[in-house]
Symmetry: C2
């Protein structure tokens, strides 16, 4: 696709979805830009009267293929980039995740969360690394929406705490992973609709126990 | 391959490598059966005067394809099965790792360690689960031997401690992961040959910090 075609595609997307931010959302301190056209994502940012405390965005290979320029522009404006493993490799041309994350930092985002599906998620910020496994499930009905659940859980937890520290973000990655595990257990949002706070808290404790080990002697 | 051909193949392997256990190894309390013909693995066990405190074994799809019967026999005699993700699925016919591990338990091994390469390792024992990520590396020169390093690190650490508890095994999985990360950084055993205790201890601490998060409030 040449750049004229690309622009037309992008304009079509924008024409079909020109995001208006309702007045009551103008004061949002936490903004999650879901995986949409980077032009739509950028427009949401510019239509807010003041910059949120934290902007996170999700993206995918499709936008890298057709709208790289707009994508790089919106990436430069956000605090947290959420992206899956293969896609961060495509975006940066680097296979090793610590190097790919370092390359993303130079594009703008201070924080990079790399989603590895059933293999968990790894977060990089300011030379620090955090890893959360995915919850090992006995039954996966449909993983569709797991990535969106992860993103929503991540930013929702930070917004609830009102905290954007590294410690809070680590917990937020685990919250995202745990909530996403419920999404996989049924179709659509079915499992999430009946989810009790006690259920995901219990899974948070399980996940915590699953990675805990004593420091070695000597 | 019919069972006669299979037997011939196995006998050929055995003929080429008939393992004699030297007298000074007869008192070994920790036995690691590397990934070899299950007939060779079984022979090692039967040639020991007394059963070691802990027997671990590694295997691969090749033996499932040509020597399933002998493989099941040796699996029934060991305490720890180490196997990679795809292979435990082939062995059990089950995709979900918790279910695959449960199926392996019924074959004999009390402990199942599933190796996921760059995605870490997960261990199941007696209803408990432990997960260790792999160390995120900036440079992977050659992962050949990483699985063997993992296995050697696992059993070597337990033998050093003289402890086969769940707590010790969790540390052993991390030791295996950390040592395997060094193997990947150069060809063959090159990196391991110059490895200092302080270097892998430092990486153990890094890995511990990488999975640590505070329990959630509320």
């Amino acid at each position: 696709m040449n750049s004229r075609d690309t622009l037309i595609t992008e304009l079509n997307v924008l024409e079909n979805f020109d995001p208006l931010v309702p007045e009551e959302y103008q004061d949002s301190e936490y903004l999650m830009l879901g995986n949409l056209s980077p032009l739509v994502q950028s427009t949401v940012i510019t239509r807010l009267n003041k910059r949120p405390k934290l902007i996170a965005m999700d993206t995918m290979n499709f936008w890298m293929d057709i709208a790289m320029e707009s994508l790089m522009k919106v990436i430069s404006k956000v605090d947290v980039l959420m992206i899956n493993e293969e896609e961060v490799r495509q975006l940066t041309g680097l296979k090793a995740l610590p190097l790919a994350a370092a390359a993303v930092h130079t594009m703008g985002p201070k924080t990079v969360v790399i989603k590895k599906g059933e293999h968990g998620a790894i977060m990089f910020e300011d030379g620090k690394t955090f890893f959360s496994p995915a919850m090992p499930l006995e039954k996966v009905v449909d993983p569709t929406g797991a990535g969106d659940t992860f993103a929503g859980g991540f930013i929702g937890y930070l917004a609830r705490l009102g905290d954007t520290s590294w410690e809070a973000k680590k917990q937020a990655v685990v919250v995202g992973s745990v909530l996403a595990s419920f999404t996989c257990e049924d179709f659509g949002t079915k499992r999430l609709q009946t989810l009790e706070e006690s259920e995901w808290h219990s899974r948070m404790r399980q996940l915590r126990a699953m990675v805990k080990f004593r420091s070695i002697r000597g």
